[in-house]
């Protein structure tokens, strides 16, 4: 009860100060003493947090601020590239969240005043909060690859690591590619969003080539020597795409074989790597990654990412601001959509508990990542996570990879992957 009272008084003072400094906007945002949460970013982490706060405590005023009217899921966008799925099936809007009583604002957050507990947007609005959730996803270090830039990414060499127009651009380039052309991919160094993603993308594009342009080649210039689901992808590539033979469609050049890229020439789509020079017909560069820009601006980062308390996802650097999803340091949880969804629910539970002065129950997380190597051949990695001594830990004996090849079970995994996609998006946006 004391906690509640203190929280209420503090809120009222903050509200009054806000009103004095920022005029009517802050006052308008102060909803008759209701507890307010402002969520910055409407991706998987942000949308899930908003939804579950409302689910756990409908009395809390939740505002979600997101610049785009739609969200394209990065997961399953590789199926769009493979020609097995349409763009509109990975596009989601915020109507479901609005119906749940969440105020969804289409605007760009320009500044978060952690001391004053105020979020400011590009249109000049201000939003007072008791708790803020920042879930900006990843940003790219374009400059890490000389010759590459945001402008190049948007005009000719897509990263397609945020789905939407970038996905469409890459798909169109693949469609226009001549049979016998070369697709070159440059995956990022660790850590990055969706660890198996680049290799699922290679698989999907290979499945497209196999069917429509069998003389095409794929070259991967990798800054790493190993990657997620390594054995399963290698096995799948051998089975479907002749990997390891003279006729292999895919050539993977790891770091220790010269996979590291020195620079690119965007005009000729030429990649200069330690192993030599590679001329691409279609080039896909997935740059090294870091937390989204607003995290840096707000002072939430240490290095490239945001340190958080593993129970509440509150920033260890700024009070009353929580960070979930790819931007947060939640290792051993990976930077995946399922992990972001799972983190967001724990964050929502923590915020609801904190705002109501209640004890937070012991957290639990799950991650599941499906990849589709070829039509009818799905694989997965999964893990259950617990909280121990202030840290997220893997539950011993749980999780792991898809077992040895069994065609029937691989078909099922593909169907479960598609079910996962339908269910997680219903859980986030529905």
């Amino acid at each position: 009860m004391n906690m509640n009272r203190r929280g209420f008084i503090k809120t009222s003072i903050a509200g009054a100060v806000g009103a004095a400094l920022y005029g009517s906007h802050a006052l308008a945002a102060h909803h008759g003493g209701k507890k307010r949460v402002v969520v910055v970013g409407g991706g998987i982490g942000g949308a899930t947090t908003a939804k579950y706060i409302k689910k756990y405590d409908p009395s809390i005023d939740v505002t979600l601020i997101e610049p785009n009217p739609h969200y394209y899921t990065c997961f399953m966008s590789n199926e769009v590239l493979g020609g097995h799925r349409q763009m509109d099936s990975i596009r989601f809007d915020y109507e479901g969240l609005k119906k749940k009583g969440i105020r969804v604002v289409q605007d760009t957050v320009t500044d978060i005043d952690a001391a004053g507990q105020i979020v400011r947007t590009a249109s000049g609005k201000t939003y007072q909060y008791d708790r803020c959730v920042v879930s900006p996803g990843v940003d790219f270090k374009y400059e890490a690859i000389p010759g590459y830039s945001k402008a190049v990414a948007e005009s000719s060499i897509p990263h397609a690591w945020k789905a939407g127009p970038q996905t469409e651009m890459l798909r169109k380039q693949l469609e226009a590619m001549p049979d016998g052309g070369t697709f070159v991919m440059v995956p990022p160094p660790n850590p990055f969003r969706c660890p198996p993603g680049p290799y699922e993308r290679v698989s999907q594009i290979a499945s497209y080539f196999k069917e429509h342009k069998p003389n095409c080649k794929i070259v991967i210039l990798d800054p790493k020597n190993k990657f997620s689901k390594f054995g399963l992808f290698m096995d799948g590539w051998k089975r479907h795409y002749g990997y390891g033979t003279d006729k292999s469609m895919i050539t993977w050049i790891p770091a220790d074989k010269g996979g590291k890229v020195i620079k690119i020439d965007p005009d000729t789509k030429t990649v200069h790597a330690e192993a030599g020079t590679f001329k691409a017909d279609v080039l896909n560069i997935i740059p090294p990654q870091k937390a989204g820009a607003i995290a840096f601006k707000t002072g939430l980062t240490k290095g490239d990412w945001c340190p958080v308390d593993h129970m509440t996802f509150e920033s260890t650097l700024k009070k009353n601001i929580h960070v979930v999803g790819d931007s947060s340091i939640a290792s051993p949880l990976p930077k995946s959509g399922y992990a972001a969804n799972s983190e967001a629910k724990i964050c929502a539970a923590a915020i609801v508990s904190l705002l109501n002065g209640k004890k937070m129950p012991e957290p639990s997380w799950v991650n599941t990542c499906y990849s589709i190597i070829a039509p009818g051949d799905g694989i997965s990695v999964a893990m259950v996570y617990a909280y121990e001594n202030g840290k997220i830990i893997k539950v011993k004996g749980s999780g792991g990879l898809t077992g040895k090849y069994d065609p029937e079970l691989r078909k099922r995994e593909e169907m479960y992957a598609h079910s996962w996609f339908n269910n997680i998006t219903a859980d986030v946006f529905g």
């Binding site: 009860m1 509640n4 009272r5 209420f8 003493g33 209701k34 579950y52 689910k55 756990y56 405590d57 409908p58 009395s59 399922y338 969804n341 799972s342 629910k345 724990i346 539970a349 609801v352 508990s353 705002l355 109501n356 209640k358 937070m360 129950p361 012991e362 957290p363 639990s364 997380w365 799950v366 599941t368 997965s380 999964a382 893990m383 259950v384 996570y385 617990a386 539950v395 004996g397 749980s398 999780g399 792991g400 898809t402 079970l409 099922r412 995994e413 169907m415 479960y416 598609h418 079910s419 996962w420 339908n422 269910n423 997680i424 219903a426 859980d427 529905g430």
Partner: protein, 199 residues
């Protein structure tokens, strides 16, 4: 007190309905925390949008526990559930079982063949109804079969038939009889019937 006063009656009712198990207004319990990690694959509140992953809302508590134990022990053929089930203690499984047992089962909106479904209904009555009562709506010895996702039921039965999963003696006897008399078409017809039960 301050908080309770602010909560109007309709809001409290909403919490009661939405929370189903998470209960406490403005609070979250451990069962909800555990159960909500399942939603990514099995759907919000355990209702799957398919096409294959089963809904787990409304599974009887005992059945939920039994199946999770079978997944842990490898007694039931699976793709991913063995790996997931091994992450939980008996106590955690019981909490989740109680949570999902209280949630309403919602039949899946899925395609079915009405002709086969009609025949399947007859076969169901002859071979299955004794245990899976009211057209498989009563969830007792199993989860609800009526309105469960067809591919999941198909996989489960295939695994029973091929000896990949352990199967209850009575079930094995009836299933064998159905296959002997009607062949695999008979099994498929029964599944069409369950898929047709969408109300």
């Amino acid at each position: 007190m301050v908080k309770l006063k602010r909560l109007t009656l309709p809001v409290m009712l909403t919490v009661g309905v939405m929370g189903a198990g998470s209960a406490l207004a403005g609070g979250v319990d451990r069962a909800a925390i555990l159960a909500n990690t399942c939603a990514g694959c099995h759907g919000p509140d355990g209702v799957s949008t398919g096409p294959a992953t089963p809904s787990i809302a409304g599974l009887p508590e005992e059945y939920f526990i039994d199946v999770m134990k079978m997944f842990q022990e490898g007694e039931r053929r699976n793709t991913i559930m063995g790996r997931i089930a091994k992450g939980y203690t008996d106590e955690e499984i019981e909490l989740m079982a109680k949570y999902f047992a209280k949630l309403p089962h919602r039949p899946a909106a899925q395609k079915f063949d009405p002709v086969k479904a009609k025949y399947g209904k007859k076969l169901h009555e002859k071979y299955c109804e004794k245990c899976h009562e009211e057209g498989g709506r009563v969830a007792d010895s199993s989860g609800p079969l009526a309105g469960q996702w067809k591919p999941y039921l198909q996989f489960t039965l295939d695994d029973f038939i091929n000896g990949h999963s352990e199967v209850d003696k009575k079930m094995k006897k009836k299933l064998s009889k159905l296959i002997r008399k009607e062949g695999m078409d008979g099994v498929r017809a029964v599944l069409e019937y369950y898929a047709s039960e969408q109300k």
